[in-house]
């Protein structure tokens, strides 16, 4: 037995030069300090993404992305296919936990200033994946073709339509026509299972490669310490095993959520019905949705909604380009103003999400 393993390893090593990799991994250390906990959220996000890939492929076996069949096929999955209810429920829950984990990961990186040179590209690819994740959420929400999703998509694409000049063509591109119809469903299905995963995989590959090449970033106060004052732990196996432990806990949580709070399917979308009350997008869009509701219809001579969309786009762009304009952090100095700004942003997002939920 032992011999066989060794021979297999030798065979692979000859072809892949595993020895290099093992040596590299063995030398890789993860800094240990009071903020180490945040390192795990990248791993949790990765794990949830993998679950999404697996359950997504499984759902693809039975799901039918057409106006007539979408809703019924999900009904079919949850009732007729054995453990279909579990797979669908896990896919829905895991999607939401994924966004949550990604948000935590992103803000922890922001507050730790881990994006500073030389990790600008890691931040940028991460941001690309974040936007893709929102795209996954937005497109996936429509796929069950139920009433709430149908109207939420209508509202969501409407908002895209208010952007001057490009808005209208963008909206028509997203909807596959003037209105949200079966054509929209086909498109969103295509985005969800082919376009977005393709781009995401590339971004994820670069992101992971950069993390492995550059190692974990240290927060400024740790980086400032003398070399002998810094604590570390080996990436392999210590950190990896801790990662695995957390993944198991998350898996347990997912299973409990999926069984005790099965994701509801609601009523089938009816293109001619009037909108029911309580139309709201997924929770991670709520703060934007709520803000747009609060903005008055006109501010001066600008349309309120256009202004809102413009401000959000600008904020997103600033956020994406942080490593390039946050000079202080790049120089290794503390940037308290930015921290407070970030804190305000987090508080604003939480407050408006709650508002959107309650109102």
């Amino acid at each position: 037995m032992q011999r066989a393993w060794q021979r297999l390893y030798a065979w692979l090593d000859e072809r892949l030069q595993l020895a290099n990799l093992v040596e590299f991994m063995g030398k890789k250390y993860v800094p240990v300090h009071r903020h180490s906990i945040w390192y795990y959220f990248g791993g949790v996000s990765l794990f949830l993404f993998l679950i999404q890939v697996v359950t997504g492929i499984l759902l693809l076996l039975y799901y039918k992305g057409s106006e007539q069949l979408a809703f019924e096929s999900i009904q079919f999955i949850s009732s007729k296919v054995s453990f279909g209810w579990l797979i669908r429920s896990i896919h829905s829950w895991s999607a939401n936990l994924f966004i949550l984990a990604v948000l935590v990961h992103m803000f922890s990186v922001f507050f730790e200033r881990s994006y500073r040179a030389p990790r600008e590209l890691t931040w940028m690819t991460g941001m690309v994946m974040f936007f893709l994740a929102l795209g996954f959420g937005f497109s996936g929400y429509l796929l069950p073709w139920n009433e709430l999703a149908f109207f939420a998509t209508k509202v969501g694409t409407d908002i895209a339509g208010v952007i001057p000049v490009v808005g209208k063509p963008l909206m028509i591109f997203l909807r596959g026509g003037e209105d949200v119809t079966g054509a929209t469903l086909s498109r969103f299905f295509g985005f969800h299972v082919a376009v977005l995963p393709g781009i995401f995989t590339v971004a994820l590959g670069i992101h992971l490669l950069l993390v492995q090449r550059q190692g974990m970033s240290e927060p400024l106060h740790v980086a400032a310490l003398p070399a002998n004052g810094r604590k570390t732990m080996p990436f392999f196996p210590n950190f990896l095993l801790r990662d695995l432990l957390l993944w198991l806990i998350v898996l347990n949580l997912l299973a409990i959520l999926a069984v005790f709070f099965p994701w509801e399917l609601g009523k089938k979308a009816d293109l001619f019905a009037s909108a029911p009350s309580g139309i709201r997008p997924e929770w991670y869009f709520l703060f934007m949705f709520q803000t747009l509701k609060f903005i008055p219809a006109r501010i001066g001579f600008i349309d309120g909604e256009v202004l809102g969309v413009f401000v959000f786009s600008l904020a997103g762009l600033l956020w994406l380009l942080i490593p390039f304009w946050d000079r202080r952090s790049a120089r290794g100095e503390r940037n308290r103003a930015l921290s407070y700004a970030g804190l305000c942003a987090v508080m604003y997002i939480i407050a408006f999400t709650i508002l959107g939920w309650v109102l």
Binding site: S79, K80, W85, R242, A255, I256
Partner: protein, 483 residues
Amino acid sequence: MILRIRRLAVAALILAGTRVGMGADKCFECHTAIADKPSTQFAHDIHHRAGVTCAGCHGGDATTDDPEKAMNKEGNFIGVPKGDVISARCAACHADSVRMAGYHVVLPANQFALLKESVHGQKSISGKERIVQCTTCHGAHGIVPVRDPASPVSPLKIVATCSSCHSNATYMRAYNPALPVDQREKYRTSVHGMKNARGDAKVAECVSCHGTHGILPVKDVRSKVFPVNLPSTCANCHSNAAYMKPYGIPTDQYEKFTRSVHGIALLKKNDLGAPACNSCHGNHGAAPPDIESVSKVCGICHSLNADLFAASPHKQAFDERHLPECETCHGNHDIEPATSTLLGVSSDAVCSRCHTPTDNPQGYSAAQVMRLQIDSLELSEQRAQALVAQAEQEGMEISEAKYRLRDIHQARLEARTTVHAFNAPRFATAVDKGLVVSASVAIEAQGALDEYIFRRIGLGISTLIISILAASLYLYIRRIEKR
């Protein structure tokens, strides 16, 4: 108030005196002298007695005895009014409440307006004039008050007046070929019609139900005889205890009807197919259905029940005892939705009214058994429903079983209908059909509930496995870090 009326009266007198021409009526004087028919009749006319001259309707000058002047065509003399001019002449005074007050009469001023809106005012062949003018019903020169028995619209004469057109098939064909023309014949056979013929002016005649000036087609929702309005129209008289006193019949039919399954369907749910008074009693030929015909009347709609009953052993028994079918068990005006409580021998059941344990032990026990059977079907339906609801509540997909709940419901209703055959084996077969379905639905629902528990157990096991794995991993990490 009095002062105001007096002032109005004075004004009206002045107006009337100048325009219509009170005082000497020279036209009438000359025409009476030649004793022509109009003037002979006009002598008794209420208008003549009130001082309205010939010129009031015909125009011209009633103050001169020179025919040339009096009937000056260049003047305002119009000769014999024709078409809509007739009613317009009448309405000149009758639609003017101020002027009418001058004659000390209290008549509604909206008669002409109602006529114009009515079916008689709306329908026209020529398109130029209304079918009916005031004179069509009230006459022309010998008009007397409606309350005068000589009036063609008085209760005892109105039937003849209306039927002069409505019983004339040739005439009616021009307006509505589908409309029956036998209303008078039917009316004469009705309780109302027979009493009317004997001189009872209190009973219903044409206008009691259809209205007077503003008669609307039966299919018009505003019509007094439109199905949903009809019961209250009948109730105008039939629920008036004082009015009905001489006839010695109950006056609670309307009140009972509104509580009945039919009344609720018609009046609350606006189901125009539901029976109103006339559906069972007839309309023009209204009379209570006699014992023989009750089941035929009910059977118009409830035909299956009527057929089953006619073939059942009860048919002969009821006939011998002169019991009305349907009504004996279900009642009449206050028929409630039939439930299984009617069946059996309990206090609210009807079977034991005849089938007492001593006189008719066989029927008594049969009723008892049938009640037990339908109750057990009802119970098993409820159980199946509860299980399905519970499984659904737990988030289980159970649409198949839910769909088959319908079959139990159907079997139960069929069994209830089968009761009317009063045939124990046949009833048992119908009940068994439902019991079989409800048993299989219950099994399916129970299976879904078991599956629900299985999911919980499965989760428990896998959670346990993951927890053990996580715990041992934790211990392992601790160990390699201790090193």
